[in-house]
């Protein structure tokens, strides 16, 4: 575990040293703040003391930002050969993948933590459903975990960061939009399968304040599959 932590610390340091972290934080807070408070379907327009509008903005901004964070993580190591250095140290493939996953998740949690002033502001405006807010944050964290593991997988199959970014977005858009569209246009068993696969089904359930073990299983299974896929592509060096 301590070695996973070593990886986490280095990755976080690299996020902050390369300014990626600052740009991501500023952009995330800027976008979500703008759309939550100033423009369009904002909180004042809805007229309820609720963070729903923030959650639905963050649902999209995180979807777009996460691949930009994960694209570098394995693709660059692959390209510069530092992966060879890492893999010849007494650390397992799984610890490397999990460390990288955790570091990005921590950065996302920091970003979400910085939006707590929104929560306190809305709270001061009127009665707020605390349970729904907390679950909304939990939902964002679960969704981010899923996209981080997809992004890591995309980053592990290539040594080109742009390819990794686009691949993560393409895989992600299926979960984000396409499965939902298919679910609404199909009926019967196929429809309900796609409905279960759609990220928005599970995210909106959680952010409304309803949590179900099926939603948790959904997010965790995407995370596990993404991480195992990344680990498998690290181990691929031994396949012929």
């Amino acid at each position: 575990m301590s070695k996973t932590w070593t990886i986490v610390r280095r990755e976080l340091q690299s996020f902050f040293d390369s300014l990626t972290a600052y740009i991501m934080l500023v952009a995330f807070l800027g976008f979500s703040g703008f759309f939550t408070w100033i423009s369009g379907n904002d909180i004042f327009f809805i007229g309820q003391a609720s963070l729903q509008s923030f959650f639905s903005i963050a649902y999209w901004t995180l979807f777009l930002f996460i691949p930009a964070l994960t694209m570098r993580q394995l693709a660059e190591e692959n390209k510069t050969g530092t992966l060879e250095m890492l893999l010849t140290k007494p650390i397992s493939d799984w610890q490397i993948v999990f460390g990288k996953f955790l570091s990005t998740l921590i950065l996302i949690v920091i970003a979400l933590f910085l939006t707590f002033p929104y929560y306190f502001t809305v709270w001061s405006l009127g009665p707020i459903d605390h349970g729904a807010v907390i679950l909304g944050y939990v939902g964002l964290i679960l969704m981010s975990s899923a996209y981080i593991s997809i992004g890591l997988f995309a980053s592990s199959v290539t040594n080109n960061q742009i390819v990794a970014f686009l691949l993560a977005l393409i895989i992600g858009i299926f979960f984000h939009v396409i499965f939902g569209v298919l679910a609404s246009s199909l009926t019967g068993a196929a429809g309900s399968v796609f409905d279960y696969l759609s990220m928005s089904t599970h995210f909106s359930a959680i952010s409304r304040g309803v949590i179900d073990s099926r939603d948790i299983i959904y997010f965790l299974s995407i995370v596990v599959m993404g991480l195992m896929g990344s680990e498998a592509s690290l181990a691929k060096r031994n396949l012929n």
Binding site: T6, R10, Q13, T82, T88, K89, P90, N238
Partner: protein
């Protein structure tokens, strides 16, 4: 700590990068790995360091198999890969601390180990620079420092002196020799002089197979058992000297050196020695020997001989 490589084969697709090779390296031995490009040196090293798993055969380091105990084996090895990959955006000390933690060096010992590595590898002026800003030679030193940080029992160095200037090369060689007294070292190179200067034993590998294995002296003996002498004789006409040399019983052939016609290269028959007959010949004819040097077969010739077919 011994390294035993047993019947290892590694395939890349259908191509055999390493073909059924076996060898052993003993504790306190510096083994030089020689071979043309693409011979399988790097692949063998990657197999020893558990980066690649062999398709067949097994490697044990200190009795531990790379198949069963990769993590344990990795912690015994310090490895400098050929491309010397480094995190460019990290500072030298941060990078060394990161590697030390990965290698499981106890926390309280890490600052001491880093100080020692910086001293040994001559990095004191560069320690708080970003690795990106270092010259190639200094990067190579950082690579070496990270390989040595946990005081490994086994050191695997893939072309450790590329990109270094002659002074640095000499320093690194000294360092390798010093480490090689107690530890097991494997280094690869295609600079023959380097292998000769640092290694106790040489392994020449070509097309994935071992084609020669022995100390530099043994290899020389094996390649050319015959004595070759470079002779310069004064006091007579070169033609007469040439004819007289040819008449000696122990001499197989004589060559006149292209760039200096007064020198003769005398090749003796197998297991014969020509120095005494040459002396007696000179005494008889009233000539005198100006110079007589045994010519050692160069490692280059051996290398070419065993890797060309």
């Amino acid at each position: 700590m011994d390294i035993i490589v047993e019947k290892v084969t590694k395939l890349y697709g259908a191509q055999k990068a390493v073909d059924n090779i076996s060898f052993k390296v003993n504790t306190g031995e510096v083994l030089g790995f020689l071979g043309p490009n693409g011979a399988g040196k790097t692949t063998t090293m990657k197999a020893i360091t558990c980066f690649l798993a062999p398709n067949e055969g097994d490697i044990t380091v200190g009795g531990l198999s790379v198949r069963e105990n990769p993590e344990k084996v990795k912690s015994l090895i310090g490895y400098l890969p050929e491309s010397n990959p480094l995190y460019q955006e990290m500072q030298v000390v941060d990078y060394l601390a990161f590697v030390a933690e990965l290698q499981g060096v106890p926390k309280e010992q890490i600052p001491g180990r880093i100080r020692e590595m910086i001293k040994i590898c001559g990095l004191s002026g560069e320690k708080s620079k970003n690795i990106r800003e270092l010259s190639k030679g200094y990067k190579q030193r950082v690579g070496l420092a990270q390989a040595l940080i946990h005081d490994p029992e086994v050191l695997v160095l893939d072309e450790p002196t590329t990109g270094l200037d002659p002074n640095q090369i000499a320093e690194i060689r000294d360092l390798i020799r010093k480490i090689g007294k107690e530890k097991t070292v494997i280094l690869s190179s295609h600079i023959l002089a380097e292998v000769e200067a640092t290694c106790d034993r040489i392994l020449i590998i070509s097309n994935g197979r071992i084609v020669a294995n022995g100390t530099p002296a043994e290899l020389r003996m094996r390649a050319h058992g015959d004595e070759i002498l470079k002779v310069k004789i004064g006091g007579g006409e070169p033609e007469d000297i040439f004819i007289a040399l040819e008449d000696l019983e122990t001499v197989r052939s004589i060559a006149i050196m292209d760039n200096s016609p007064e020198y003769f290269e005398v090749h003796s028959h197998e297991n014969e020695n020509s120095a005494r007959p040459i002396f007696e010949m000179c005494a008889e004819n009233n000539w005198y020997i100006e110079e007589l040097t045994p010519v050692e077969t160069r490692l280059e010739d051996i290398f070419r001989e065993v890797t060309m077919n």
